[in-house]
């Protein structure tokens, strides 16, 4: 396994420009994760707001039921199965070019369910005096939610959201199931060509670790910036 490390590195990265395969895989992973995170935030925020509104106003109960079904089904089934259903059933095995986007959509919808629970908890944690203060100034409910409640809720749940997205980034490594060459799949391809397992897989693990560390660092920066208003 450890023999001929220089040779392995050469075969894995340099021979036939294989590093390009890895690089393309990395870009696919980042793109899918990026789209999925944005989708996750948008879907998650909308579902969270819908759920909170239904509870608060007692109106549009059907919307609450739909949201509940969504989070229950998504959180109760494996993401790989969701990915396969999205690709093979809903999109009827889309073209190779579209496959990464189908994957991003599946991961975004998946992430949205978890994010909605996190954001909902964040909204519930905001003192109801905040909503009342906004309403007493004549602000409509939706503007109060957007300008007063959500920014505070978002700030409170940022660490939890960060965790969700770290999980998401790593979960995209199953994209190979729908024939998308992400980072993991790229490493697999190289491994099957060179018959070296050590360098491709360890390198891939290190790259994921690097992405997650970078993401964590950026999140800490953002948290610090948002914590400005807590200064005493």
């Amino acid at each position: 396994m450890f023999e001929d490390i220089p040779g392995q590195i050469y075969r894995t990265l340099i021979q036939d420009n294989r590093w390009l395969v890895l690089m393309d895989g990395l870009l696919v992973t980042l793109m899918v994760a990026g789209i999925a995170i944005v989708l996750g935030i948008v879907i998650g925020a909308l579902v969270a707001i819908a759920k909170v509104n239904v509870v608060y106003s007692g109106r549009m109960k059907w919307l609450g039921v739909i949201c509940e079904i969504y989070t229950t089904v998504i959180r109760g089934t494996p993401v790989v199965v969701q990915l396969l259903i999205m690709y093979f059933i809903i999109f009827g095995a889309a073209s190779d070019k579209m496959a990464p986007y189908v994957g991003a959509l599946a991961f975004g919808i998946n992430s949205g369910a978890y994010v909605s629970e996190v954001i909902r908890a964040g909204i519930m944690s905001i003192d109801r005096g905040q909503m009342e203060a906004g309403r007493s100034l004549g602000l409509p409910r939706n503007i109060t939610m957007r300008s007063i409640i959500l920014p505070q809720a978002f700030k409170n749940v940022l660490p939890a959201l960060g965790n969700e997205f770290i999980v998401l980034i790593k979960e995209t490594s199953v994209l190979g199931f729908i024939a998308v060459t992400d980072l993991t799949m790229a490493a697999q391809l190289i491994r099957s060509r060179t018959f070296d397992a050590f360098i491709p897989l360890i390198l891939t693990a290190l790259i994921y670790l690097g992405i997650v560390l970078l993401f964590t660092w950026a999140l800490k920066k953002l948290e610090k910036k948002l914590a400005e208003s807590d200064a005493r």
Binding site: E132, S136, P140, Q152
Partner: protein, 247 residues
């Protein structure tokens, strides 16, 4: 042209939480320029009554009129529009912690399109200099003392140019040494002619500022009178008892 209508009128206002009847058919009027101070034992429904006036609490039955318009039963947009004319100050300040003092004051006037950013900021500065807090323009609420927070909260409501100010125990959450600065500001507002409805335990303030006192107990207004009569010659035995405890 407005006729001699009341600024606020409640008709047989009732509020029930589950099977707890908190307001028992209150019919009262408040005219422009009046300063009504409401007192009463804990749980008597003072806050609920105040919060029904701007529909933060939806009455179970009865009517609330404001500036000749029926609030109960008005559309959401209409309620929002009328609410903007009723400032409210809370016991817990309820400043927006993620915004600076300036942001707190300018948010609603800008979002509601009443002022552009420039005007709103000028108004914020003008109001803040009035309470000598201009230097706190860029501070966050967490950087203010309790008394400063409450005065900023009052200013935030004033920035909307309200026709009436509702206060729910504005000094109850303050350290004793900060009560004075808030009451002084409220006193100055009263002197400017602002219509005020104040729930408060500050009897000294009530005596000086109120044009009318209201005593609430068990969801009803049991006595109403100008402060001299109210404190000097209370009629209702429950009020007599209440006053003997708080004075």
């Amino acid at each position: 042209m407005e006729t001699t209508q009341y600024l606020i009128e409640t008709k047989e206002l009732c509020k029930q939480f589950k099977d707890n009847l908190v307001l028992k058919s209150i019919s009262k009027t408040i005219s422009r320029g009046e300063k009504v101070v409401i007192v009463g034992p804990s749980g008597s429904g003072k806050s609920t009554f105040l919060r029904c006036l701007n529909l933060l609490e939806i009455p179970t039955s009865g009517e609330v009129w404001f500036e000749g318009k029926l609030l109960t039963g008005a559309s959401e947009q209409e309620i929002d529009r009328l609410r903007a004319k009723m400032g409210m100050v809370f016991q817990q300040f309820n400043l927006f912690p993620h915004m600076t003092v300036e942001g707190n004051i300018t948010l609603a006037p800008i979002k509601l399109g009443l002022m552009d950013e420039r005007q709103a900021k000028d108004r914020a500065k003008e109001l803040l200099s009035r309470i000598s807090l201009l230097d706190k323009l860029d501070a966050y609420p967490s950087q203010l003392s309790g008394g400063q927070k409450q005065r900023v909260a009052i200013v935030r409501a004033l920035a909307m140019n309200p026709d009436v100010m509702l206060f729910d125990e504005p000094t109850s959450a303050l350290d004793p040494e900060m009560v004075g600065e808030v009451l002084d500001f409220m006193h100055a507002l009263a002197d400017d002619g602002m219509t005020m409805v104040v729930v408060s335990h500050e009897m000294g303030f009530a005596r000086e500022v109120a044009t009318r006192m209201m005593f609430m107990d068990d969801g009803k207004v049991l006595e109403e009178a100008p402060p001299t009569e109210f404190f000097g010659n209370p009629q209702n035995p429950r009020l007599q008892n209440f006053l003997s405890q708080v004075l």
